[in-house]
């Protein structure tokens, strides 16, 4: 079926801010979809208020609306743009929910807009529990028995027929709060009672537990003519019970025989056919390890995190082709873009394995509940490709970019065996490392299989690694032969790991290894296991066999990516890497990208001239650079991950474009940095480096409280804390694991401002100045910020710009850097200089319409500053733009929502308007549904006793807000109200705010944050710019 000719203009719905469970994968799928539509000559209009995305670039869509993802905003856009079609299946659950609401309210019909791809009835069928279950019954597809219950008696009646174990899921509680799995009647009764009381509507879903089954997923596509194909299947290492987003996943499946593989494939095709999906769909199954009996767990009628993973694991661009199917094409009419000769209607054959490991935030949030269950907690993930499972695991573990000792988590070395085993039965994010540690201590693979229910196959892989590690550790360097070294490399051991086993420098191993000719080969991801010739430039390394040669003629530069998304190092760095690639291509270079995050646009093999899917250690990077013959790299755009390898790359003779590693160190080493500031005549915040507790005490005495403690080289303020007294310091020093040296600074109360600067060391340009709404003590990533500054005196703004230019001209640095300032009355202190792209770069670029990263890349490669064509600072920035942070507290129980120097937000949105209050309102209502409700006059707020005072209450009630305080209603009573929306609690951390957070409420812990919202309730009048 050819393309629908009547579709000329399409509105695409993006997924909004990054939250746990809905992240960068939707930038990838959204970007692919927009590109695919524009290739067809279709005009693409996009709504998405997440600035840190490639999707929202003007080069991706024809027009971008940074508006809240609400029915009202979409309606206004439909009114203005009058598109022919709406594509909602690339915007995650947000997109689907909006599409359903727009259909239900008759808005699509009113504007004559066709929903593209899967019909709304099919989406509803997949999303509605009862409709879906009855369809599955009709198809004879088994779903686990379940029942909605309101009383213990009803629950028991269900359990008596279904049998134990039974899962209890309270309705409308998040973070898994109040639910669990019961194996006995006694435990079940207490769990149901707990669940009913936790649920605001006193309702639970009880479901026969299939925990312990293998969890297997299929990515399926279907076109309107009924052709169905499965792109990939994936097997979770973790049996059913751990969310697939929190599971280690391999693709393709390893332990399913052909009959099982195709039984589930056939079921997938029957289901997608019965639902009538047009596009991509994800189907999850539970498979009994012995009987091959299976159950359907879930169907997602849209592209998803799993489809992004499947696309990267197979090379098959699911979202791109789903968009083509949505405008009418059939699969057999579309070419397979990888081979260019075969068609899209085929199923990829892999001749390698892929391993995905989630990246969790618990190294930064030690107080949060890290148990894994049915709620996803990971912020990101890594993928590794290899031809053996052992080396794929090693690569994936390295890619996590965690503080590890090879295969081992250092903290576990002091754990008792029994405590480690507890993690096996009650899994948390460290289960993989607990298994590796236990294997090292002699626990048998069989016992671990029994404790975890994980397939013996995977334990065999892990034990093989541990046994080889032990064998290798018993050898000495002098005994190492060419064969032994080749064997170690094939199993994925790095020169670094081997160097610590053999007590010789990694360089020595590397040199000898190369003498023996042991270097990796690079194989192509070609979707067809070499059956057909392919043209793709998507590669992975492996330690045997030959290399699939890549043709190249132009000079080459490598861009180092940022790895998995974690708190403090998000999608913005992927945005920067992609822009750097674009710039290199424009300048006539071949851009070679190295990264390991399967969710992102940078790892779309169509982005760079060559994509190497590799861990980001210096060894892995150097191997690629040597194979490609590259001697220039860009490390400015991959966040702290790429900065961390700068020195080693440089020592190996690689040129870092933009600056030396010496300068990076000067900016990051506190003493050297302060010396630098003083040398150029700038005031420094009083502070010291302390190498031991006594020095911390000395520093505290010299500085007087409050003080700020932090480690060097951190992401997202990890480990940073404000301390107000000797008592607090004593408690902190006693409780925390502290890595010395730590930096001890005087805590300056004041206003924070940050600046992005483009510089070649002689000329500089300030793209934007961001004022933080909250004062010092709140991490810049968690604060609301506004550009241009609203409350900064003109004189101070000039001063900020002057100091920024002064710094730029005194730094031998080319590219982009970010300065964080604090203004205390008339004094301006530099808090830090980040010699790399920052979180605000995409926003700066978008508000000034200047491609900052592309300019930075051009400068690094010798373009003259004057040729960039930018002059006036801020480039005549239009109106005000406000960035608001978005949090995922509902997914992270026990994590305090109080704003501190440690970043906890997972994403951000922006709002723009010529009136700052409207810009703030757009950002805040786009960031939080609760605030959107409050703003439209729906809902009540609660003030704690310590926070509430007559003036404050008056301010809110004057604006028509419904305010409760403890004198009228206890907090617990208020929590039972259906109109509860936001909590004001300005005193130090209380249990109340954690409770409110996992109930999805908005929480204000700083007066400035609350005031910012209050101001939007009656926006000021007049012209502002």
């Amino acid at each position: 079926m050819p393309k629908h000719q009547e579709i000329k203009k399409v509105l695409v719905i993006g997924s909004g801010a990054i939250v746990i469970g809905q992240a960068a994968e939707f930038d990838y799928s959204g970007t692919q979809a927009c590109t695919a539509l524009r290739e067809e000559g279709i005009e693409v209009i996009l709504i998405n208020n997440n600035p840190a995305t490639i999707m929202t670039d003007e080069t991706t869509a024809d027009r971008v609306y940074f508006e809240p993802l609400t029915v009202e905003s979409v309606k206004a856009i439909l009114e203005k743009e009058k598109p022919d079609g709406l594509l909602a299946t690339v915007g995650g659950q947000t997109g689907l929910n909006l599409a359903m609401a727009l259909t239900d309210q008759g808005i699509l019909e009113e504007y004559g807009v066709k929903l593209l791809g899967t019909e709304i009835e099919s989406i509803k069928m997949a999303e509605d529990r009862d409709a879906f279950r009855s369809l599955m019954k009709k198809l004879n597809e088994p779903v686990p028995d379940s029942e909605i219950i309101y009383t213990v008696e009803e629950a028991l009646a269900f359990a008596n027929t279904a049998g134990y174990p039974v899962i209890v899921r309270p309705a409308y509680t998040l973070g898994g709060f109040g639910g669990g799995i019961a194996s006995t009647e006694e435990a079940f009764i207490s769990l149901v009672e707990q669940g009913l009381s936790a649920s605001p509507i006193h309702q639970c879903l009880v479901e026969k537990s299939i925990a312990g089954y293998k969890e297997v997923e299929y990515e399926v596509m279907r076109d309107a003519s009924g052709t169905c194909i499965t792109i990939c299947n994936m097997e979770n290492l973790d049996p059913v019970g751990v969310h697939t987003g929190d599971s280690i996943v391999v693709a393709p499946s390893q332990t399913l025989h052909d009959k099982e593989y195709h039984m589930l494939r056939t079921a997938s095709i029957n289901i997608i056919e019965a639902l009538g999906i047009v596009g991509g769909c994800n189907i999850q199954f539970a498979l009994h390890p012995e009987t091959s009996e299976y159950f359907l767990i879930e169907v997602n009628p849209r592209v998803s995190r799993s489809s992004a993973l499947a696309s990267k694991a197979t090379g098959y661009p699911i979202a791109r082709l789903a968009a083509k199917l949505a405008v009418g094409y059939s699969l057999h009419e579309l070419k397979n873009p990888v081979t260019g000769t075969t068609f899209a209607s085929f199923e990829p054959a892999l001749d390698y394995v892929t391993v995905k490991i989630p990246r969790w935030p618990f190294d930064q949030f030690s107080e949060a509940n890290r148990k894994l269950g049915t709620q996803m907690k990971a912020t990101g993930e890594v993928m590794a490709i290899e031809r053996s499972m052992e080396s794929a695991f090693q690569k994936a573990i390295r890619s996590l970019d965690m503080k590890l000792d090879g295969l081992f988590l250092p903290a576990f070395s002091s754990w008792e065996v029994q405590s480690l085993k507890e993690i096996l039965t009650e899994p948390d994010d460290r289960r993989l490392f607990a298994m590796l540690e236990l294997l090292k201590r002699g626990t048998t693979a069989e016992e671990i299989v029994n404790l975890t229910g994980i397939s013996p196959y995977f334990l065999h892989v892990l034990s093989k690694l541990i046994h080889s590690h032990q064998d290798l550790s018993e050898m000495t360097w002098t005994e190492i032969t060419q064969d032994r070294l080749a064997y170690a490399k094939k199993l994925g051991f790095t020169d670094q790991q081997l160097s610590s086993l053999w007590n010789v420098p990694a360089n020595l191993i590397r040199t000898q290894r190369k003498k023996w000719g042991i270097t990796p080969s690079y194989r192509m991801v070609d979707t067809c296991a070499a059956e057909f010739e392919a043209k793709t430039n998507y590669f992975y390394s492996t330690w045997s066999g030959s290399t699939d040669q890549r043709e190249s003629v132009k000079p080459k530069v490598a861009v180092i990516g940022s790895g998995p998304i974690r708190i403090g190092q998000g999608i913005e760095f992927d945005y920067c890497c992609v822009h750097s690639v674009i710039a290199l291509q424009k300048l006539g270079y071949e851009a070679v990208l190295i990264n390991n995050n399967p969710e992102t646009v940078s790892t779309d093999y169509e982005t760079a001239d060559a994509l190497y899917f590799e861990p980001l250690t210096s060894e892995d990077i150097l191997n690629v650079l040597e194979a490609e013959g590259i001697d220039q790299v860009i490390v400015q755009f991959g966040g702290q991950t790429s900065i961390n390898v700068a020195k080693e790359l440089e020592e190996s003779g690689i040129t870092l474009l933009g600056s030396t590693s010496e300068l990076l160190d000067q900016m990051e080493d506190r003493d050297r940095f302060y010396t630098f500031l003083e040398s150029i005549g700038l005031p420094v915040i009083p502070g010291f480096s302390a190498n031991q507790p006594a020095e911390v005490w000395q520093a505290a005495d010299d500085l007087s409280y409050p003080i700020l403690l932090r480690p060097s080289y951190v992401i997202g303020g990890s480990g940073m804390i404000k301390l107000n007294s000797d008592e607090e310091l004593e408690t902190y020093l006693a409780s925390a694991q502290i890595e010395y040296p730590v930096l001890v600074d005087k805590f300056i109360e004041g206003k924070e401002v940050e600046v992005d600067v483009l510089s070649d060391g002689k000329n500089a340009w300030i793209s934007a100045v961001f004022e933080h709404i909250e004062g010092t003590g709140v991490h810049s990533g968690d604060s609301i910020s506004i550009t241009p500054p609203l409350n900064l005196p003109a004189k101070m703004l000039d001063h900020v710009c002057d100091v920024s230019m002064h710094i730029a001209k005194n730094l031998a640095f080319t590219g982009l850097f970010n300065i964080q300032f604090v203004c205390q009355k008339d004094t301006l202190y530099v808090i830090e200089i980040n010699p790399r792209a920052s979180r605000t770069v995409p926003i700066s670029s978008k508000v000034t319409n200047v491609p900052l990263v592309q300019h930075a890349t051009a400068l690094m490669l010798g373009t003259e500053f004057n040729d960039l064509g930018i002059h006036k600072n801020f480039n005549g920035q239009r109106g005000f733009t406000v960035k608001a942070p978005v949090f995922s507290h509902i997914k992270l129980p026990d994590l305090s929502p109080a704003l501190t120097p440690v970043m906890t937000s997972t994403g951000e949105v922006i709002g723009s308007d010529s009136n700052p209050d409207i810009a703030i309102q757009k950002a805040l209502t786009g960031a939080s549904q609760q605030l959107a409700d409050l703003w439209s006059g729906k809902g009540s707020i609660y003030m704690t006793a310590e926070t509430a005072n007559d003036t404050l209450i008056g301010e809110w009630t004057d604006k028509g807000m419904h305010v409760f305080t403890p004198s009228e209603l206890s907090f617990d009573e208020w929590m039972k109200r259906s109109d509860k929306k936001a909590l004001l609690s300005f005193e130090s951390d209380t249990p109340l705010i954690k409770k409110a957070a996992i109930h999805r409420l908005h929480i204000w812990t700083r007066p400035e944050t609350a005031q910012a919202f209050l101001g939007t309730l009656s926006p000021r009048k007049g012209a502002f710019v």
Partner: protein
């Protein structure tokens, strides 16, 4: 022990020798499915060949008797990147299975490079032997293999109806099973059965099975097969498809490296629907050789080759791919139903799977 895989184009590859210590020579072919080694290794169509698996990990789910397509391992030798030898959830290990059947495995081979060579130069003769031994004389690729795999005697399975005659060129058990699952009585005949013998069995239809080798090697039987297909409603699968098309005047040719895998898209020319098929063949029916009496029923989406034909008047259809799957996608079982629709028969089959 190390082993060497030598190809007749002069290239050689090293690996670790596992299992039976004997040299083998055969035509080297590759299979691209990611599961299904149990079925592939026991599929008689691979008889005498050296099989290379493109998927690098083999043996993770062991071998279960229920999944075997014949009694023994059919290829002469097995080439893999990595053989799994750890604990299994069930069944015996691939290593033990190969040892029992006296078939050597070479592991640790750069299979992707081997496959790239076959892709460039076509399938060719190859030798597997322990490292350091001198190369034996090259033998021509064997094309007449059916006698080695056909039934030794006539046997009957099931006792319901219709009664289908399965002409055995090296059939896979799952073809027999697909018929039995539909309530058939099936009599298996050696390919050398005579017309008179067949007529003694009161058959309602014939199934010409898959099998190894060149269809041209059975040219002397084509006149009989044409007669049978004129007499009985018939279904041809793989070699059976090539033989029936040849019997009615089409000619066949050898593909450079065949189709062997689980992801070959075919289009049903009646419905325009594309689906994935399981394939294992070197030879195809030439497109321009098709007589007027036959029309194309299925076509390969990638290379346009013929994947199935039907006779314009007689009740017979053929498919180049494997509707019985095993290994591979199970979405072509409808081919059996179409076959049954061709059989004039009182008690229609009731148990469509």
């Amino acid at each position: 022990m190390k082993g060497t895989l030598s190809l007749s184009n002069g290239q050689s590859f090293q690996g670790i020798w596992k299992g039976a210590a004997k040299d083998v020579q055969g035509e080297i072919v590759f299979f691209t499915g990611m599961t299904g080694y149990e079925e592939v290794l026991t599929d008689p169509s691979y008889h005498g060949q050296i099989i290379v698996f493109s998927y690098p990990l083999m043996g993770q789910y062991g071998i279960q008797t229920a999944h075997l397509e014949s009694e023994s391992i059919q290829p002469a030798g097995i080439i893999v990147t990595e053989l799994y030898e750890g604990a299994l959830e069930k069944g015996i290990s691939l290593f033990d299975f190969a040892l029992q059947h006296n078939v050597p495995i070479m592991s640790g081979v750069d299979t992707r490079s081997v496959i790239q060579t076959i892709r460039e130069d076509g399938t060719m003769q190859a030798v597997m032997q322990l490292e350091g031994k001198p190369l034996p004389a090259w033998k021509p690729i064997r094309t007449f293999l059916v006698p080695h795999v056909t039934a030794k005697a006539i046997t009957t399975h099931g006792d319901d109806s219709p009664h289908i005659g399965l002409i055995d060129f090296g059939y896979k058990k799952s073809i027999l099973q697909a018929l039995l699952d539909r309530g058939c009585k099936v009599t298996v005949f050696p390919y050398t059965v005579t017309t008179d013998e067949l007529s003694d069995y009161q058959l309602d239809g014939l199934l010409f099975s898959n099998g190894p080798g060149d269809p041209a090697s059975l040219e002397h039987k084509l006149a009989d097969y044409k007669k049978w297909a004129t007499t009985y409603p018939s279904l041809g699968i793989c070699l059976g498809h090539q033989l029936l098309a040849s019997a009615f005047g089409a000619s066949t040719e050898k593909l450079p490296f065949g189709h062997r895998g689980a992801n070959h898209p075919v289009m049903n020319m009646k419905t325009n629907r594309v689906s994935m098929s399981s394939q294992n063949h070197s030879y195809v029916v030439k497109k321009d050789s098709l007589p007027d009496s036959l029309s194309v029923l299925y076509q390969n989406v990638n290379d346009g080759s013929i994947e199935g034909v039907q006779h314009n008047e007689l009740p017979f259809i053929t498919v180049q791919f494997h509707p019985e799957a095993s290994p591979g996608p199970a979405e072509h079982h409808e081919v059996f139903d179409t076959f049954f629709d061709l059989i004039p028969f009182e008690k229609k089959v009731s148990t469509h799977a």
